[in-house]
Symmetry: C3
Subunit: 115 residues, 3 copies
C-alpha cells in the first residue's frame, strides 16, 4: 500500500495516508487565549482542514482520542463536539486528562479516518 | 473500503469497522463502586461484547491502550488482564496513568482489532 | 487479512502485523538511570529493532504517540527525536504528559507503521 504524507515538517507530518486509512497529528489551537470551547472549535476546524487536504472529511472519522488538560472541561468540550460531529457517522472515541505540550493548550484531538 | 458503525450515539459509536479493522470506543465500567479489579473485569467483558457485535473476538485484538486513574493499580489491573487475554494472541499494549471522564472510573481500555 | 505476532508474551506482544499495518507495544527504556535524552535514544533504538523484526523501518512510521512523565522534558525529547526521525517521512505525532508504569520511566513511545 502507498504512503502519502501531507504537511511534512522536520518533526512530524500533519496527515499520513496509508492505503485507505488517514492518521492525523494531534491538533491543538493556535489561539491559546481562547477558553476550552473556543479551542475545541478551532481544533475541530483544523481537523476538517487536515482531512480535506487528503480527500477525506468528518463523516469518515473512525476513531478519536481527546486529551483535556483538565477533565473538568469535559462538558464544555462535549458541547462543541456534539454540535460538530457528523450525526449517524460518529467515531469510536476515548477522552482522558493529560497535560499538553504548552500550558496554554486546553485540548488536543487525534483522529484516524477513512480516505 | 466500507465503514460499518455499531452502537451509534450522538457523541460516539461503540465500534467502527473499516474494511478489516475494528476500532472500539474507550470502555469503562458501569459499576464505579467496584475496585480496579472489578472494573477491569467489567471493561474486558464489554470489550468482548463490542467485538462480538462486529464479528470479532479477543483472539484478534491488535493493540490496546490502557488508562489507569492511578498507576499504582498496575499490578491489580494486570492480574485480571493476564487471566483474560488470549494466550498466543496477545496484542501490542501501552499502559499510562490518566484521570478519566468521571472520578469513579479507575480504568479505561481502548482496543483495535481485526474483524 | 493475516495477523502476525512477534515477541509474544503472556501479557502483550511486542509487534503485531495486520495485513500491511504494524502495531508496536509502547516502548520504554531498560536503563531507567538514564535521563530523558538517554531514554529517548534507547526507546527509538528499540522501535527500530521492533520494526526490523517485522520487515519495516523508521521511514514507514505512520503515527507516533509520545508519553512524557514530565512535559517539561518536551524540548529534550525532541532534540533526540528530531535527529532520529526520517526526514521527508515524518509521522503524524501526538505528545502528552502521563505517569508511566514504573517511576523510573521518563518516556514511552507507541508507533503504528506500514510493513
Amino acid at each position: 500500500m502507498t504512503i502519502q504524507r501531507v504537511g511534512v515538517g522536520p518533526r512530524m507530518s500533519n496527515a499520513v495516508v496509508h492505503g485507505d486509512t488517514v492518521y492525523l497529528a494531534g491538533q491543538v489551537a493556535d489561539s491559546t487565549a481562547k477558553d476550552v470551547k473556543g479551542q475545541t472549535a478551532e481544533v475541530l476546524a483544523k481537523i476538517e482542514a487536515a482531512l480535506s487536504s487528503v480527500g477525506s472529511d468528518k463523516t469518515k472519522i473512525l476513531s478519536a482520542t481527546i486529551y483535556l488538560s483538565n477533565i473538568g472541561s469535559f462538558a464544555d468540550m462535549n458541547s462543541v463536539w456534539d454540535g460538530w460531529v457528523s450525526q449517524g457517522n460518529t467515531p469510536a472515541r476515548t477522552t482522558v486528562e493529560a497535560r499538553l505540550a504548552a500550558p496554554g493548550y486546553l485540548v488536543e484531538i487525534t483522529v484516524t479516518a477513512a480516505k
